[in-house]
């Protein structure tokens, strides 16, 4: 464990990161890369708007394809930020203080990428607001039995609560950054964001209340939102989807993929911004344990799925067998291998605390979970009850380009965040250090 005094000094530096950024070169290189991908995003969306969803590989019977599997993947990644921040706050795990701020930012940007997908997937994306129950001149409500409407409410609720939670959390640090800023424009920028925070006892009291309350709202949302996503599938009479294990399976898979991405971002920021004093081997160890635990729970979901299929027999079992040996077997075995094989190395503490090993395992899990979403969606849809309606799905260039584009959107937002806002919750780290000093 690092010396509290050293930790406190490090916390002082966090608030100064935006005004005296420590790694301008590395940041610019990453930012240019992210901007290229973002440009690809805009090109893909422009082509999509001009020519319609026909540019994608989606077609009957696989009407969902990339947009929906990527939507699920992005949203799942977002959930880890909420779990790390809100759940660990409520159960009093103080080590989260070094990770929560950027994990929350990751949630925001991942939810943005996720939320864009169902909208872009609409035939007429500019009409997306028709899903909202606003007082329209149509005289009808949105179709509440439609998964599209569920998506709308799930993503919107989650986005609002995530923004609130992240913003409430950052207000005291914005005030610290405001007081520390020397240039006028930084003072105004942070001053507006800090909402007149003066740090009085009354402020802190209100802040505690609202922060914990928002956390208490956010944690159940992780479960309900990703259960909703799983019901998009489990509610349909499609072989391979009709399973009661889906909601927990999806929620745990989401947390799993999210923790993988949090680990990757942690290690990247730690190396780039030299945060070794704050993000210690202990944090890496905890992340490794979380990753291993959620990974094993996800593996249970895989087993439960196989069991359900074998138990049900008939078309369910055929679909399962088709996943093992059919045309999409690569995605099934890819998911199994990438998700669970490198993961086993995390049983050893030396691997958990090794930045490079943890990063690579995180990457492997992110890829594996992407394959899992793809496998679940495509391998069920392409072959349902009628032989006459079978048809293979092949992603096109524009499928891949939009996916790469959302990665660009995510990276751009995240890089702007680490450049302009305090990436670690400085006041919470200081509080933790002070408590350690006081004994």
């Amino acid at each position: 464990m690092t010396d509290p005094a050293q930790q406190q000094a490090a916390a002082q530096r966090i608030a100064a990161i935006p005004t005296r950024f420590p790694a301008p070169m590395g940041w610019w290189v990453m930012f240019l890369f992210a901007l290229c991908l973002l440009a690809l995003f805009f090109v893909s969306v422009a082509v999509l708007f001009a020519r319609g969803p026909g540019i994608w590989g989606n077609n009957i019977p696989v009407g969902w394809g990339f947009p929906i599997s990527n939507y699920i993947w992005w949203l799942g990644i977002g959930h880890a930020g909420t779990l790390i921040s809100a759940m660990l706050l409520l159960v009093g795990q103080q080590w989260r203080n070094s990770l929560n701020r950027f994990a929350e930012a990751m949630t925001l940007f991942a939810v943005m990428c996720a939320g864009l997908y169902p909208i872009l997937h609409l035939g007429r994306p500019w009409r997306f607001y028709w899903m909202a129950p606003y007082p329209s001149t149509m005289g009808i409500w949105p179709q509440f039995r439609s998964p599209l409407t569920w998506d709308f409410f799930a993503v919107l609720t989650y986005l609002i609560v995530s923004v609130l939670f992240w913003y409430i959390g950052i207000v005291p640090d914005l005030a610290a950054a405001r007081d520390r800023a020397e240039k006028r424009r930084w003072q105004i920028f942070f001053g507006l964001g800090a909402l007149g925070w003066r740090g009085s006892a009354a402020h802190w009291h209100r802040w505690q209340q609202s922060y914990r309350l928002t956390a208490a709202i956010a944690v159940p949302l992780v479960v309900s939102v990703h259960s909703e996503i799983s019901l998009l599938m489990a509610a349909g009479p499609v072989p391979g989807w009709v399973s009661t294990v889906f909601p927990p399976y999806f929620v745990l898979g989401a947390a799993f993929s999210g923790f993988a991405v949090v680990s990757m971002l942690t290690l990247w920021l730690r190396a780039m911004l030299k945060l070794g004093a704050l993000v210690t081997p202990r944090h890496l160890n905890m992340l490794g344990i979380l990753l291993l635990a959620t990974g094993l729970m996800t593996a249970y979901g895989y087993l439960a799925e196989v069991f359900t299929a074998a138990w049900s027999g008939g078309r369910e079992a055929e679909t399962m067998w088709d996943r093992f040996v059919g045309p999409y077997a690569w995605s099934y075995w890819g998911a199994v291998v990438f998700n669970f094989v490198p993961l086993q190395a995390l049983w050893w503490a030396r691997v958990r605390t090794s930045p490079i090993a943890l990063f690579l395992i995180g990457l492997s899990v992110a890829v594996g979970m992407w394959l899992e979403r793809y496998m679940l969606l495509v391998s069920s849809l392409y072959r349902d009850w009628l032989e006459s309606s079978e048809g293979l799905f092949r992603p096109t260039f524009w499928d891949w380009s939009l996916y790469a584009g959302t990665l660009g959107l995510f990276l751009t937002c995240f890089l702007l965040f680490i450049r302009f806002l305090p990436v670690i919750s400085a006041f919470e780290v200081r509080e933790e250090a002070q408590e350690a000093l006081d004994g």
Binding site: P135, S136, T137, M138, G139, I140
Partner: protein, 203 residues
């Protein structure tokens, strides 16, 4: 605070705008090649709607009269009138008059006049008191709300089919109208549940 206020103002302005004639063109007169007066032809002369809009009982479109229909009278009456010059030109050249649509539905809406007429929805229900329009304007907003209000509760809007083109009210009490409408619905098995299926209008 200001943001909330601005958002509220925008929302209310948007709410009002989509219901205003700027959006719906309700009450707006379209420019026409000849200043045709429905008031004169319907109220003063007593022409039946179907004399000119002959397709209304049998097809989706009510249809506009050909120049020859105008000329059944105007080959004898007002033969030298300046306002009718485009009609005479049309007859001479064989080029039909280009009337501008007053009551427009979007192209993704399937609407069929004949079934509405056959079940006794009076012309005036949607087109208003045409017999009072010296220049023709859109009487109703023709938004989805307008259509679906009637589809949800058709009873008060159904009258005797032989009196659909009558412009003056039937003079029935509200209760009588509803009772009559409900009998029509029972006789023709009109069920509001199927009338509000998406596919009824969006095919």
């Amino acid at each position: 605070m200001m943001t909330c206020l601005a958002a509220a103002v925008l929302a209310i302005a948007g709410w009002a705008r989509v219901r205003s004639p700027y959006e719906t063109e309700q009450g707006w007169v379209q420019h026409q090649p000849v200043p045709f007066s429905h008031k004169h032809h319907v109220a003063d002369i007593g022409l039946d709607c179907r004399y000119c809009h002959a397709g209304v009982e049998t097809s989706a479109e009510a249809g506009l009269p050909s120049t020859h229909v105008c000329m059944t009278c105007h080959s004898q009456l007002w033969t030298g009138a300046d306002v009718l010059a485009p009609v005479r030109q049309s007859l001479a050249s064989g080029q039909p008059l280009v009337w501008h649509r007053v009551s427009q539905l979007p192209d993704y809406v399937y609407f069929n006049h004949s079934i509405h007429v056959a079940r006794g929805v009076a012309c005036a229900e949607c087109h208003g008191r045409i017999d009072k329009m010296a220049l023709t304007f859109r009487a109703q907003p023709f938004e989805m709300q307008f259509c679906i209000d009637c589809h949800r509760d058709p009873a008060p809007h159904l009258g005797p089919p032989d009196r659909v083109t009558r412009m003056t009210p039937l003079g029935w009490s509200e209760a009588d109208k509803r009772r009559y409408g409900e009998r029509v619905m029972a006789a023709h098995r009109i069920d509001p549940k199927t009338l509000v299926n998406c596919g009824i209008c969006h095919r």
